[in-house]
Symmetry: C2
Subunit: 256 residues, 2 copies
DNA sequence: CAAATAGTGTCTGTAAGACACTATCAG
DNA sequence: CTGATAGTGTCTTACAGACACTATTTG
């Protein structure tokens, strides 16, 4: 198959990864949910060096013996921390520099996940380190974070807000059944601004990624509301136009 | 500063990265240009194992002694291959799995760069391996690629086409001075379809990221065309609406 | 003049936003 | 009835797309 398969195999037999100076490689997660009318993320308090005792994004090293690929590592970490195994999960961006970890050159693959807050009763009482939810204020949280996790969080929030302007992403922050008002509220919480009801509902119906649950309504002390669920196999709708009058800031791209 | 700075320092003194099984880490580049009325990318023929003799994306390992961060590695690689040092450069996505490299678990940070084809006279005659331009056909090139580079290329082309639908990105594929017709042609070449002239020009002017070069025209055997240049410090404009009637395919996100 | 490309104007369709309106429940 | 939230209709504005039209050059 290869040009010279024999010498290629010979090469691999004598190859040792530890002959090279390779950076430390990890995967970190920004796990979003909406709780108490606020966008929140999951943080863990580190029980190991470096940054022992500091808050950090959940994450860890690739298990080269068990993880098939990066997504598998991210899913495994998410399951370990939350018990959730079918979230919305998207790779955010890689971060790597000589200075982000005091142990030396390190890289991390940042992912962001969206889960419904009622999916995670399992969290407390697990065997993991202390973990808790923290409200996102602007593009940060109220406590100092280890490593460059503040920068990662900032990038994740910006990416989330940007996606929410033109996609159906927020359905993943809700439980399986919800009303259109619930969904609108999530859009408003993530974006931090009001959204027009009429325009919102036209847009969502046009997008055709939800279906009514026939005859199922939510009753309260007012007019009952139709319950909807995400249409199966309709993962992520992108609209042609963004909501809101504002153009997004430019990418975290660097030049020079 | 830290909770216990003394033990943190003790920890770092005895820490050795080689005690862990870390994946091999590299940076790969998808370098786009427009030449001969076609979108093209730069490929190098590998002179080393593995995949010796195969075409591959230019790339290589992080130089932990000299590279400040991932972007620096990508820029260095780009400079080594093309001599270009101020391109549009954006991190695409991380790729990592147990099988993408026969040497074992490996990860790579894929970047994509846009350069004007007249910026790269320096390419031939360098000290690098054989490198050449290859036309992009659909989402691939006409030759087999090493590693998982076909998948990386595919993701890069999709990302580029998607961005072009709503941004000013293609200016980076042109030299410093160009006409609006030149720019329209680049949009058409990247997207692989015709674009309406009137709508295009309204959109570009509305975006306000170009400026006329006063009095400077390009003359041919027809009406002379106004020359434009990118407005300084106007890096990447995003429009509120996409061109073309089609919504983009969903992300390369995985679930399950 | 013709050929070629540059550049503009006019109309239509679509969807977002503003906002007022109606509908349906509990109490 | 009131209060509350669900849900709709109507008007305006913004802009993409289609397409015809004018403008300016060379030969």
């Amino acid at each position: 198959m290869s040009i010279d398969n024999r010498s290629e195999q010979e090469f691999l037999r004598t190859y040792n990864i530890h002959d090279f100076d390779v950076p430390l490689t990890s995967v970190d997660l920004v796990i979003f949910t909406v709780r108490d009318q606020a966008l929140q993320i999951l943080l863990v308090r580190r029980s190991e060096h470096p940054f022992r005792g500091k808050w950090a994004l959940p994450g860890g090293f690739i298990d080269v013996r068990h993880d098939r690929d990066l997504d598998a590592t991210a899913l495994r970490k998410l399951r370990e921390k939350t018990g959730v195994s079918t979230p919305y999960l998207e790779q955010l961006q890689g971060f790597g520099s000589a200075t982000r970890d005091p142990r030396g050159w390190s890289v991390t693959f940042a992912y962001f996940a969206l889960i419904a807050s009622d999916d995670i009763a399992l969290l407390h009482g697990g065997t993991t380190d202390a973990a808790s939810w923290h409200k996102v204020d602007g593009v940060a949280v109220d406590c100092k974070l280890a490593f460059d996790h503040a920068a990662i969080l900032s990038a994740a929030v910006q990416r989330l807000r940007n996606r929410v302007e033109y996609s159906s992403l927020p359905v993943h922050l809700l439980p399986a059944e919800f009303t259109l008002s619930d969904l609108q509220r999530v859009y408003e919480i993530v974006l931090g601004r009001k959204v027009d009801k009429s325009a919102f509902r036209k847009r969502i119906k046009e997008g055709d990624f939800l279906e009514e649950i026939p005859g199922k309504m939510r009753h309260a002390s007012n007019r009952p509301a139709q319950l909807y669920r995400a249409r199966p196999h309709h993962p992520a709708v992108s609209f042609m136009r963004r909501m809101g009058g504002e153009a997004p800031e430019s990418n975290p791209t660097q030049k020079q």
